[in-house]
């Protein structure tokens, strides 16, 4: 027997050296943290996910800020772009990345297997939420730091940080609900395709890098009712125009969140 084996707990049976049963679950916060840490590590190791959540938003921010590729009126391009790129970061992490990861976890029986551990399904949702918020925090720090470095001057009210957090959490809830709805009902490949396609479409029509004011008025009212449009517009109101909580955009996100989470809770298939 090697040294490592002697680290096993006291034997329940002297002949086999196998320890006696000693079942028991760790406290729920420990469970959630352990699973969330594992998910974060897997995410960091996944090149495509990093491209989606960090590289593309940062590249778009830098490229569109420094190059006169689009006209955004009198205010500087970077002031327009930072709130949109934060919205894109939320979209990429809470929706696209989470939908794809969860879809493949479902396909490979990972969700099923975790359902039999003390983590349970509730804890698993908790861990996923924690991971998403953790990644968003990293994204936010990176985007804000790069924004300042290239001349971002937010025109923000006194409670801007609070309203930013409230809007990001509302957007995260809406996009997470949609991600789980997709991942829990479609095949993994279909989830991958739809999540990537919606990422591209919403990047184009979500008010993220192209101002919604460039669209016809009729289209604009519909686009601001989409979660991406509502989030980008709401963040711009807070960070670019110094508003308080953008109530209309907040309510739009809340409705999306409630509807998507309710649908996911009803329709999600674990295997």
């Amino acid at each position: 027997m090697s040294d490592a084996s002697s680290a096993l707990p006291p034997a329940g049976d002297a002949r086999t050296g196998w320890p006696a049963p000693a079942p028991g679950a760790a406290p729920m916060p420990v469970l959630i943290l352990a699973q969330s840490k594992l998910e974060a590590r897997l995410l960091i190791r996944n090149g495509e996910q990093l491209l989606l959540t960090l590289v593309i938003p940062v590249l778009l921010l830098v490229a569109f800020s420094l190059e006169p590729l689009l006209k955004v009126g009198s205010s500087s391009r970077v002031n327009f772009l930072v709130p949109g790129i934060i919205a894109l970061a939320v979209l990429s992490t809470a929706f696209t990345s989470q939908a794809i990861a969860t879809g493949f976890e479902r396909r490979y029986g990972v969700l099923k297997r975790l359902g039999a551990t003390p983590l349970s399904r509730t804890g698993l949702i908790g861990a996923k939420t924690l991971t998403v918020i953790g990644v968003e925090l990293v994204q936010a720090v990176l985007i804000v730091a790069i924004g300042f470095a290239i001349g971002w001057h937010p025109h923000a009210g006194a409670l801007a940080a609070l309203w930013l957090i409230v809007m990001v959490l509302a957007g995260t809830a809406a996009f997470s609900g949609l991600a789980l709805l997709l991942a829990g009902t479609l095949r993994a490949e279909a989830t991958l395709a739809v999540a990537n396609l919606l990422y591209l479409v919403l990047l184009g029509i979500g008010g993220i890098i192209f101002p919604l004011s460039k669209f016809p008025a009729s289209a604009r009212s519909v686009l601001t009712l989409l979660p991406s449009g509502a989030l980008a517009q709401g963040l711009r109101n807070v960070l670019q125009y110094g508003s308080g909580l953008p109530v209309r955009d907040f309510v739009v996100l809340l409705i999306w969140a409630v509807a998507a989470i309710a649908a996911a809770a009803r329709l999600f298939r674990w295997e």
Binding site: P9, Y108, G109, R113, A116, T117, P118, S120
Partner: protein, 308 residues
């Protein structure tokens, strides 16, 4: 409750649409024992195990696991029950040690992940992603995950499917060790030798019902047979007169004689048969005692036609 079983199943029925997967199954697995559930593909083994694991609900009948209803008491049972699914369940990019380390943190008194990897011969692939492990290594990691929390009861769905002989023996040692430590094990398998070697109790299931159960020696200890070869056309009725009541003697095919007794073949039977042969100048060649193997019993009970 002090006298619950590891698993107790009564009149279990489970249907998927028009198909009946489990059709009135009754089965009891004792605490501290290894119970093997044998059956052809589609016999309802995995469905039954997954109802015990809390993944599916019974249409009718009762199931208790460690004395508890697996659907209603899932939260209580999860830490006490270890599960190895028939396939999958592990993220493809996760490294062996990282995965086992995470699962260990789910439990109050886990095994040391490094020691467990070592014991299952996985120490050299501790940093290898799951998708790059061989099939046998993947199976053993899933097995490790089922026991890391030191459960009282472990469900193993075909734990040795596709394993090479070394890996099978490592798995058998682990199962024997679990049993010796006081844990209960329920395993499904297609390998009769595995059931014969490991199980205290064997349940043979077919078409969603129990068709036979008992210890391996109970199941294989049916009628004993004595076989020999001799010239064709011996007077088997005359032979029968010399034997204990309830015996049978037949010639099948010509020149091959089979003497069957309801109990086991004993020295008296051999003496009686050879005495009769001596009396009639018959030289009994290839005289041998035959005993049904678990595989014979299984095929007799479940038939020889191929299943999907």
């Amino acid at each position: 409750m002090s006298t619950y079983a590891a698993v107790e199943i009564r009149d279990l029925v489970k249907r998927y649409g028009p198909a009946t997967a489990v059709n009135g199954l009754t089965l009891r697995a004792e605490l501290g024992a290894v119970t093997a559930v044998l059956g052809p593909n589609g016999a309802g083994k995995t469905t039954t195990i997954e109802i015990c694991e809390g993944y599916r609900r019974a249409d009718s009948g009762t199931v208790t696991v460690l004395g508890l209803d697996p659907a209603a008491n899932a939260r209580t049972l999860r830490p006490r029950v270890g599960v190895m699914l028939q396939s999958g369940g592990v993220p493809t990019a996760v490294r062996s040690a990282e995965y086992l380390g995470t699962l260990a943190r789910f439990y109050a008194n886990p095994l040391d992940p490094a020691a467990l990897l070592d014991r299952l011969g996985l120490a050299s692939v501790a940093r290898t992603p799951f998708k790059r492990l061989s099939g046998g290594q993947q199976q053993r990691l899933s097995l490790a995950a089922a026991v890391i929390g030191r459960p009282e009861l472990v469900f193993l769905d075909e734990p040795t499917a596709g394993l090479d002989p070394q890996a099978r023996h490592a798995t058998w040692d682990l199962i024997a060790g679990l049993r010796a430590s006081g844990a209960s094990v329920i395993l499904t398998t297609h390998h009769m030798d595995e059931a014969e070697r490991l199980a205290d109790h064997v349940a043979i299931v077919d078409h969603g019902r129990l068709v036979a159960e008992g210890s391996p020696s109970d199941l294989t200890g049916g009628p004993g047979q004595l076989r020999f070869r001799a010239e064709p056309g011996l007077d088997t009725d005359g032979l029968l007169v010399a034997l204990a009541p309830g015996s049978a003697a037949k010639e099948s095919p010509a020149g091959h004689y089979i003497v069957e007794v309801t109990d086991r073949v004993d020295p008296q039977l051999i003496a009686a048969v050879t005495a009769w042969c001596a009396e009639h100048g018959v030289l009994a060649q290839d005289l041998r005692i035959e005993r049904a193997t678990l595989e014979d019993v299984f095929l007799e009970l479940t038939g020889r036609e191929l299943r999907s």
